[in-house]
């Protein structure tokens, strides 16, 4: 067992350090409540998008715009990053702090890759397709929904990066463990939302 958790009272960390304290358990439970609220937030954005997705105002339509290979690449990147954050939590349960940090770093890098692809995609739409935020009701709904998800990815990248720094500084303790666990939940939820985005926005857009 590693020696990087000197802050705990008896020097030994339990198997699931995120659930060792009442504060940790409360943090996980209340984060679920937050995710329920996030589901409502994205639900309203999906509702707006579904209601307006055919109002193209003579601008580009979904069928003309979307390139499925790019969507597939973004989907694969995010799915792999969700798996690497599972591995991060598993490393945490084994108290392997170095492995935990590496898995979190890989997750952050994949998140950055996803963001890069999305920024490139949006820039292409605006530049080559003349598909801006105000082009049509479809474009506004598209950029709001997909952009809101992208902003969540960007926030997750920042959050997990700060956590990696904190793990260097403080090690794995009953205080830092719930933060890691909750950030992994957040990251999985981002992937869950993306499953609905690639299905409802991109694939249904191609079907018509």
């Amino acid at each position: 067992m590693s020696t990087t958790h000197a802050e705990t009272v008896d020097g030994a960390l339990p198997h699931e350090p995120e659930k060792a304290t009442l504060e940790g358990r409360n943090k996980v439970l209340s984060f679920w409540l937050f995710l329920g609220g996030e589901a409502v937030l994205f639900g309203t954005l999906f509702a707006t998008f579904l209601a307006l997705r055919n109002q193209t105002n003579e601008g580009p339509t979904a069928g003309e715009l979307f390139q499925l290979p790019m969507t597939a690449a973004a989907t694969l990147i995010l799915l792999v990053s969700s798996l690497t954050s599972v591995f991060a939590v598993q490393a945490m349960h084994r108290h392997k702090v170095a492995a935990l940090r590496v898995w979190l770093m890989i997750t952050v890098l994949l998140g950055l890759g996803f963001l890069g692809l999305e920024i490139y995609e949006f820039a292409e739409y605006v530049r080559a397709e003349k598909f801006g935020m105000t082009t049509s009701a479809f474009s506004s709904a598209f950029y709001t929904l997909v952009g809101f998800h992208g902003a969540h990815v960007a926030f997750g990248v920042l959050w997990i990066s700060v956590l990696i720094g904190q793990l260097y500084k403080k090690g794995l303790t009953v205080v830092t463990a719930p933060k890691v666990y909750v950030s992994a939940m957040y990251w999985h939820f981002i992937d869950v939302v993306w499953v609905f985005i690639f299905t409802v926005v991109y694939l249904l857009g191609k079907v018509g």
Binding site: G36, A39, G43, T44, A51, L83, V86, V195, F196, V207
Partner: protein
């Protein structure tokens, strides 16, 4: 067998039980990849009945989300009644918003 040995064996068993391996999560990952591939293939192939494709896409998405919520976010584990209720509540309001928006705007 001495009491100490017995205790050690017991600890080993408990240890392996407590540390779940990555296999289950890799299976979830492969399952997600397959569902995603089916969805993309159904759209790329085209020519299939549009209504059928839409239903297929939604089923693939819901399956993938349920598996990831259950295994990667541990909702299927013990002691997750409140989180499940929170998520059902969230998805219920989200679904109501979607149905309402579609009904309100287009009928």
């Amino acid at each position: 067998m001495s009491t100490a040995d017995h205790q050690a064996n017991h600890d080993v068993v408990k240890h392996s039980e407590r540390h779940e391996g990555p296999q289950k999560h890799i299976i979830v990952f492969i399952f997600s990849i397959i569902l995603t591939a089916i969805a993309f293939a159904a759209v790329s192939a085209g020519g299939v009945n549009a209504a059928f494709t839409v239903i297929l896409l939604l089923v693939m998405a819901v399956l993938q989300v349920l598996v990831q919520l259950g295994y990667w976010m541990h909702l299927k584990d013990r002691g997750h009644l409140m989180p499940i209720l929170f998520m059902i509540g969230g998805f219920f309001v989200a679904g109501t918003a979607i149905v309402t928006a579609l009904y309100w705007v287009w009928w």
